[in-house]
Amino acid sequence: MYHMEEKLLAIVTRIESAPIGDSDKDHLYVQVRHALQAAVAPVLVSHVPKDKLHELTHDLSSVTLDRYIQLIAGVVNAEGVMEEIEASMISVLGEIDTALLESGV
């Protein structure tokens, strides 16, 4: 199984076996999802060409989904960026893992 999925499955397994209510488990799953989202943005922002970004910001009315896709695809397809995103996601899952461990789960 793919590394990130393995990590995710391990986290879910531990949450499922935790002595807590279903609603708390559901909240934890939402947190996991948000954490994965949060792991991507900083990498994108750090690699996005600043001149292009600010050009778009100065004329927000010109921003379309196509232009955004072009911007993001350019960033993600650059050498090493995808690996960096993946490492970032694995890193945040590691934090969740540690938090569960600290809680005795």
């Binding site: 879910v12 488990k25 994965l36 989904l65 232009r67 397809n77 945040v92 934090e95 969740i96 938090a99």
Partner: protein, 164 residues
Amino acid sequence: MSEEIQSEEVKAAKGAEIRKKVSERISNWVKEKSRGIEQVDRHAFNAVKKKAVTGESPQGAANRLKSAIESGGGVVKDEAKKTKNKMLMKTLGIIASVGAFIDPEPVSKAALAATATGIGVAEKATELKAMKDARDIKKSKGLAPQDAKGAIVERILQVGNPSY
């Protein structure tokens, strides 16, 4: 106080403790990760992302973005590189599933707010319902524990995805 009530209270306290710990960890991680990134760039990026996806179907936008990235990958001939590329495509699928490219909500802000209140990242009723649905799979289909966990993982990745 009955044993049952006491046990529910213990469960609730434990749940709150775990949620708070997870929330704090994520929040600190986000803060650390964002260090060195200019706030003006972050705001600019969020503004552009928000404007780009306004009025668009989140799933449609995510799919188009995923296709654009996939098609930009080029032809890979080397076998080792091919395997690596496959892994990266899988990552891309996960990213698209969690809506990280298109979600207009600044997650770090939500995570920080959650730490302040200690109740976890902002509630989203639909997401919680989706999680509940995943859990119900276990009950209704009588899945083996591992399958049920797999279904939850899948749901974490697919939640908010109308095509699921």
